[in-house]
Each structure stands twice: as C-alpha cells, then as structure tokens.
Amino acid sequence: MTTTLQIATQRGQASEDSNAPAIAVEDLYKSFGSQKVLNGISLTVNRGETLAVLGRSGTGKSVLLRIIIGLEKPDSGSVRIHGEGIAGLALDQLGEIRKKIGFLFQQAALYDSLTVEQNVAFPLEHHRREMTSSDRSQRVKELLAEVGMAGGGLEKMPSDLSGGMQKRIALARALTLEPDILLLDEPTAGLDPISSAEICDLILKLQKEHHMASIVVTHDLVSAKTIANRIALLNAGNVVIDGTFEELQNSNVEFVKDFLKHS
C-alpha cells in the first residue's frame, strides 16, 4: 500500500530539479498584525554558496529563515528548496524537505531535559532508526569532534555549558542528518569576540568540507565578511543590496553607507 508520505517523497524526488537553486525565495510578504515585516523579498542561494543577511533589528531577518524552513507561513510569495515549493505541504511532507536543512537557532534551542549526547543524537534516533546505539554513539562523537567538542562532556546537560559551547552543540545537531542546506540565525550573537571568531572559523571549515548552501543571519559585519560569498542587506522588509562585500562597500545607496559607517 502506498502511503501519503511515500507519495510525498516520490513527488519530492520527482520535482527536485538539480539545476534549480538550493533556496529560491520569491516575492515574500509577511505581516504580524499591522506591522509589515517582509515586504516583497526575493533571494536565491545556489549550491555551495553562502549568503549573509544583514540588517537592523526587527527587519525580518529571522522571520525570513523561519519561513524558509516552514516554521512560519508567509502572507504571500513562495519558497522553493531545490526547486520544490513548500507551500501547502502537510507537516510530514514538509519533514522530508526539512531533513535536507540544518537550522541553528539564535539561542541554540537545545533540549534542556536531554544530555549533550542525546541532543546531538535526537535527529538520528528519529530518522535513522535502523542505526545501532553504538553506531549512533560513534556518529555523535564524530560530529562533536567536527565542531571542536571532542573529549568527554557527553553526559553534561545544556545548562552546564557556556553560550559558545551550546552553539557548537546546536551546530553539531544541525549537521547530524548531513544536510545540504544550512540556515544560521545569529550564530555569533551573545558571544565574546574570541568565541565569535572560533564559531566563524568553524562554519567556514564546515562549508568547505560539506559544500552546503547556507544563509547566515547576522548583525556582525566582520562575521558576514568572513563567512559569506554574498551579502544581502535588508531594510524595512526589502532587500536594499544583494552582492559581494566589495559591492556593498562601493555602494552609493545612503542606507548602505549609513549601515557600514555604524558597523
């Protein structure tokens, strides 16, 4: 018997276009009550490319990421992942697309009742049920080593960890299912400059190794310059400029100049 989920998966495979951008956002609008947050945003991110989304607080950067992964519904506009639209999909169908996306939350969002090991193993326990516990444990250790957390601490609870360590664990969790898209919401927020630089180096290393398409939402221009191939600057729910760091620096747009001056 063919289940709804199988049909969705088949449909996903059928509609996945290998030439399509990894992420394509088109004419996205989103309001919360009377407050317009996104005002017709369009963006694309290709495979292996990293886009940094910059902008003032409240310009809808995090909302954009939440819409891309389907945690928020847009008022209008479309989001396509590898050419497949996510609008109107049921939760389980959307799940098939989400398996290809790793998401790092601003506050790490580790499960506070689970240990470090259980946090990282969580996606494996639900999507790689055939894995033995020793294989799972081995995979967790590899992932933790990859984010610079090798050597113990597996039984620690998230509350026992520093902000930087929590971000690393959350990053390891985001990488567990070997995604080909990575969405990072303020990966360096609340960290000291040294920890921020370490996280940036880590993200850069992971991108080189895994060749993922990434969107990094940040306030930090230095991080954006380090991590990203392209930068999009948002203002009042619109993309003011979308280009390389050099194009951003050479822009004559008043808001861009003002933003760079105060960064």
Binding site: L91, D92, K99, D112, F122, R173
Partner: protein
Amino acid sequence: MIDRTSSAAAVIEPPLPWLRAVFASPSGRPSKNLITGFLEWFGDLGIFFWHVVRAAVTPPFEFRELFRQLDEVGSKSLPLVALAGAAIGVVLSMETRYSLTRFGAKSLLPAAIAFSVIHDIGPIITGLVASGRVGAGIGAELASMKVTNQIDAIEASAVNPYRLLAATRILACILMLPLLTLAADFCALLMGWVAMTLVEPISLQQFLNSGLKGTGFNDFLPPTFKTAVFGLIIGLIACFQGMRTKGGAEGVGRAATSSVVLSSLFVILVDVVLVKVIIILFP
C-alpha cells in the same frame, strides 16, 4: 478630543474577567468578548485535536516517548492519587456513619462507602488530582519548551511535535487514568474500612462482602472507564495550552495555571454528562 473606545471600555467593563483571562489568546491578552473568546478557543482546540489524531494514527509511532509518559503520568501520580483516595475513604466513613446512625441504617455503612467510592468519588477525585499534577506538569513543560524554541527545534529536525509531544502525553493520560482510579478506589475502600473498624471492629472480608454485595460489572466498569475521557480532557487541554504559549516566564506560568483551571473545569462538567449517560446505558 474624547477617546470613545477607551472611555466606553472604562464604563462598561465586560463581565467575568477571570473567565475571559482563562480563555485568553496565546499571548495572554483577554478576549474582549467572552463568547467570541470561547468560540475561538474551542475552534483552535478542535484544529489542534485534529492534528494530534492525524499524527497519532500515522507512522512512525513514538513508543519510547509513550512509555516514558506512561511512567510520568501513571507511577509518579500514584502516591498522590492513593493518598487522596485514602483521605476520602476516611472522611466518607466518618461522615456517612454519622448520617446513617441518625436514620438507624448503620448496617448499610459498608455499602454506602463502596457505592459512593466506586460510582463517583473515586473517578472524580482521580480526575481532579490528575488535573492538578499532570495538567500543570504537561502545561508548564510544553510551554517552557515552546518559549525557548525547543518545539521549533523539534519541528526543524523534521520530527512532528504533535506526534512526539502531544499524542504520547494524551494517550498516556487516557490509558493511565482508569488504572489510577482503581488505585484510588482501593485505597478509599481500605481506609474506609480502617476508619470504620476503629470505631466498631469488623473484618475486612465482612466489610467487603457487605459493601460489594449486589455490585456488578455494570456498577464498576463504566465509572472506572469514564476516567479515560477525563484523561483525554486533561492531556488535550494541557498540551494545547502548553504548545500555544507565547511570552517568557509569564507565559509558562499562565499556561500551567490555565491547564489546571480548564482541565478541572471540563472534568467536572463532562462528569455531569457522563453520569447521566451511564445511568441511561447501564440502568
């Protein structure tokens, strides 16, 4: 210029502010109109229930989480439910003895205790104690997960939170409430006998023979299994209130409080209906 909206609101305060606060929006803002707020709340609850049912009947099934919740709801509530049942048994024995002695029907004391406990006091006490312990626990836990983005993280990991968090907790409540009711009934009867025998010695066997004489499965099973409906109400309302919370610590407190208030309220209201249905179906 006179602000007509604010001045009208100041003069005509909508009725029942506490009830409007209970049916408040996820952000805690009380609805302006009690009926609208109530209907909106019920509509959202219905949609939530539909998501949970759909997630519960489609694989993959979260058996491990279900067993964890069975332990959480069942064995961890057992001491409290047993203690409440025991206390009710003692009180019932003392109060009923006094009443029956006045009417010269003291010999009916074991039957009066057994009938009251099995028919309604055991189930309703279990329902209310579970509303407090389990309802507040689920409401606060899920609300805390919601406000710290942990539920979003579950969803972003391609795991259905309705299946993992809500369906398992609701099913655990449905399965465990009848078992907890049996424990409450047992403790109430046992302590009812202890309280009786301290005043007028009687063997346990004699007490049970006298108390359960004429009690059939029709007296025993429907009231016990109606608590499965109480379990559904407690689990559903607590999960719903927890998973729709907004705001920080205040939101968590609000979710826990409203889970207890609403589940207790609906357990009592539904009990009225179920008692009538049981009387009609099992005369």
